[in-house]
Symmetry: C2
Subunit: 330 residues, 2 copies
Amino acid sequence: MDHTRAVTLHDVAREAGVAVSTVSRALSNPDRVNARTREHVRAVAQRLDYRPNRIAQALPTGSMQMLGMLVPDITNPHHFGLIRGAEAQARAAGYTLVLGDTQGLPGLEAGHTQRLASTVDGFLLVSPRGEDDSLHAVGTRRPVVLYNRELDGVRSVVTDAADAAGQVVDHLHALGHRSIAYLAGPADSWTEHQRHGALARRAADVGIAVRRIGPHSPTMDGGTAGVDAALATRATAVVAFNDLMAIGALRRLERRGVDVPGEVSVVGFDDIYGADFCHPPLTTVAAPVEEAGRRLVDALLAGPDAPFAERTVLPTTLLVRDSTGPVAFG
Amino acid sequence: MDHTRAVTLHDVAREAGVAVSTVSRALSNPDRVNARTREHVRAVAQRLDYRPNRIAQALPTGSMQMLGMLVPDITNPHHFGLIRGAEAQARAAGYTLVLGDTQGLPGLEAGHTQRLASTVDGFLLVSPRGEDDSLHAVGTRRPVVLYNRELDGVRSVVTDAADAAGQVVDHLHALGHRSIAYLAGPADSWTEHQRHGALARRAADVGIAVRRIGPHSPTMDGGTAGVDAALATRATAVVAFNDLMAIGALRRLERRGVDVPGEVSVVGFDDIYGADFCHPPLTTVAAPVEEAGRRLVDALLAGPDAPFAERTVLPTTLLVRDSTGPVAFG
DNA sequence: GTGAAAGCGCTAACAA
DNA sequence: TTGTTAGCGCTTTCAC
């Protein structure tokens, strides 16, 4: 495998007997060059198997045609749809998506943005944990859009947390539940505050007591760790910050021999892969994540002056499966 | 958000009263410059909040310090560990991982490699579906390593398919099974051939009949689609190409009211996220995927002349869970 | 130890 | 319509 020197614009120009600028134009501004020369140049380029050097292209233009997408946890299935949607939309627009895993750490998040700032044309920040200031700072270097986080002066796409929490509370209320244990996610998560806040408000409205357990890591382990305390509150329903935690809780309950939904109901958020085949299948709130991914890219590529809503709120849908049922008479 | 002009090396040089080359050295070849000037330059750079332009750095050096990782399906949990491991190792070596989803399509795979060839320093190709020739072609442009595919002259890391299949057959044989239905994955997948071939050979050795069903897509839907035909063969055990298919099969069987493992046993490959909490928990073969990811990066970064095994074979482990049991008397 | 200058491969004014 | 040329921001010889 000898990685032979690549064919450059100069090679093509020499071979075709024209100037480099003509080759450049023939290839990227087809209409600004005579049809005959254009075809000739293209034929030569083809014959020589010329491929533009993207780095060299990027230096004058200042754009590598890349978008940086930073997610807190690339192994959280919730982000699949988001990534898929964003990747598809980005590619359709001629951009390559560079993915970064921040592990939910503001430090890593900042590290990524710093390293990528001069490389990518913009950032898609998924549930970023950084301080408002540091997000604003990123915004001064490159365009930024946020997913599930809102910040003045920065475009964002969020799923309707208030409505989602409302649907969950109403569903549980209708089943007779009057006490909920909430398995909290990371304390520095904007979504965590939204979900918990909305849940607590709606619960108060309908006369349901909410006990907050946590915070815990937004993973299966986090759910496993928190559910025992949830049970100890004698709540009849457990609402988890996300599906990963809910599934972790479900597993723990099964091992402890607690019947779901006979003894306790469990609800999650996100409708991730696995929520439909865990045991029992999980009642959860789904959001149109692929569309969210696409919208993020649209918002980023729209340009600062384009008329574009600073905030996009996407609707959510409660999916009732087998992990919730009527409250047992105690 | 006005994306103000970035501070360049020239700005620092002017401000520090030295030449740009001195600044460049002070920052990247610290020992080739006087300690006093070095500190002075660094202080100025710091004060001006100078950040090197990676694109400009890359043009002379020819390296963006990026690695391209192409996976057939970014939503297949099997790839998580691989990605995690590779990302960690790459970052440790100062590289950024660029992820691409090929959707298992040779065309998209080729598209990605072409577009990225001049940007990345090398490729990690996960279960690539392209022809041998096109993979070799990529190899002439950039260093390449393969995961779960072997090719002469190209470094690869593979999980031990023959051993994995052997363990599965032995396990089923010990439980009394004498007929297996194999739910095949994509026909153009190297791993598919390895797994099926090894399964068939070992089965023949111990007197088990294998019927091949498929090919099907390596997804839950693929498993769902194939399992009815598998059942029709009256086999007592179903072995799927991967866990995704096995879980899809499990769901279909549950809906049809077929008892697992009472009436039929089910086995998968990979031990993906979800294999432990599906219903019933899936017996499967696990491989050290994070390590595989790390080794891929090591192999890629080792350089063409470094003494490095062309092929690395990683061991696998059978995880017996509840989806397999003794054969029922018919 | 430091500076001047020649690229890296391409784009885009500007001239012709 | 085409060619000439000056960068883009940095690295890296080569002199001094």
